[in-house]
Amino acid sequence: MDKFKLEILTPDGVIYDDNAVGVVLPGEEGEFGVLAGHASLTTLLEAGVVDVEKEDKSVESIVINWGVAQVDEGKVVILVEGAAPIRGENESEIAKALDNAKKLINDIADSGNAIASVSAKIESAAQRLI
């Protein structure tokens, strides 16, 4: 399976720097997926969930509040302002990550609809892990 390098950077550090098979991004004009060999593009991301499909087929969800994605052949760099990855070894860690993610989304004064849809996605991502 073709893979590409994915970097997700926040002002507080790198939260993802590894190979990935695919990534789904919450673009300004709608969600879009990126696979290896995607044509180059630069676009703004809005608040939402970034789904990263890793090499071992597992999917990791990362909640972001704003971002810029730069897609190059073989490499994707995402600059985000705030991010909360939903990951953890056990239930309590996942619950904590979930809280962080919800807080991040609620902090941005956006329409209730967007929050609701993102929250639903976060919940389902957490369900997958448990």
Binding site: L9, P11, D12, G13, V14, S40, L41, T42, T43, G82
Partner: protein, 296 residues
């Protein structure tokens, strides 16, 4: 000669001071490690951010007649009013750390005064704010508890005013002055011109070779508008975390010197104490001997 008791008291007081300064040094060392780590992680983001901005802005600048529309990229020839944001520490006892920043701000103020440009001074950090209050220099606004605990949300709020005023053409420039971290023993003073963004560094030849990016021109401007705001507020945040790291390294050094000085002082006081004690013993002996002599 000084009284024995006096010297003893002095020795005790100096060694107590030494204990305090040593503890402060240890605290600063621990805090520095954390602050340094944060600054290091953040630097990566800064590099990518600069890269993306330079790439997009460079492409528009080079391909479009008239250059960029966003005011953040216009080089303003004759600024009328500029913002100067300075970052100092909230606490002292860190050597020349704060005064260096203040001196740099004063120099900048003088330069602008000579050019007849109005300056809005915006301060972060108790030490700098107190200095200008004491000297009765007018400040536009001041925040005093942000520099010791950098917080992205509060830093964004703070700088937002300047960004909006710049876009509304109320101000024509923005400088951030702070003392940044270079390594464990040196700090580096930064006088950064944040707005307008320096476009000289954009290289047209390099940009054109990468012109395969697939975005519409209008989109590019939109991305850039959004990006440049984040760029400025991120710069503000980075100044804060860099300044914290520098503050701790400066304090660590100052406290190390203080501890060494105290050590020296205890040493010389000990010599003094021993001399005084010996003198007292000698006097007593002479008294006894002369007493015995007189009884013969």
């Amino acid at each position: 000669m000084a009284n024995l008791k006096d010297i003893q008291r002095q020795i005790k007081s100096v060694s107590n001071t030494q204990k305090t300064t040593r503890a402060m040094k240890l605290v600063s060392t621990a805090k520095l490690r954390r602050a340094e780590e944060l600054a290091k992680r953040s630097r990566l983001y800064a590099q990518k951010m600069n890269q993306v901005i330079a790439e997009i802005a460079g492409r528009i600048e080079c391909s479009k007649v008239g250059g960029l529309e966003n005011r953040c990229f216009h080089q303003i020839e004759n600024p009328k009013i500029v913002d100067i944001v300075f970052v100092t520490a909230d606490k002292g006892l860190c050597g020349g750390f704060n005064i260096q920043t203040i001196k740099a701000v004063n120099k900048l103020l003088k330069e602008y005064k000579a050019k007849d440009v109005k300056v809005r001074l915006r301060g972060i950090g108790k030490k700098g704010v107190e200095f200008y209050k004491y000297n009765e220099v007018e400040m536009y606004n001041a925040v005093i508890d942000l520099s010791s605990k950098p917080d992205k949300t509060r830093s964004d709020e703070f700088i937002q005013t300047s960004i909006e005023d710049y876009l509304d053409e109320k101000i024509d420039g923005l400088h951030i002055v702070y003392n940044g971290y270079k390594n464990m023993i040196t700090q580096e003073l930064h006088v950064d011109k944040v707005l307008p963004v320096d476009t000289d560094s954009f290289d047209c030849t390099k940009v054109q070779s990468q012109s395969m990016l697939e975005i519409e021109a209008e989109d590019e401007e939109k991305v850039l508008d959004s990006l440049v705001k984040k760029y400025v507020s991120y710069n503000m945040y980075y100044s804060l975390i860099d300044s914290v790291a520098a503050e701790h390294s400066a304090r660590m050094q100052a406290m190390d010197t203080a501890t060494n000085n105290a050590k020296e002082m205890v040493k010389s006081l000990n010599v003094q104490f021993n001399k005084a004690r010996q003198a007292a013993i000698t006097t007593e002996l002479i008294e006894i001997i002369s007493g015995v002599e007189s009884m013969k």
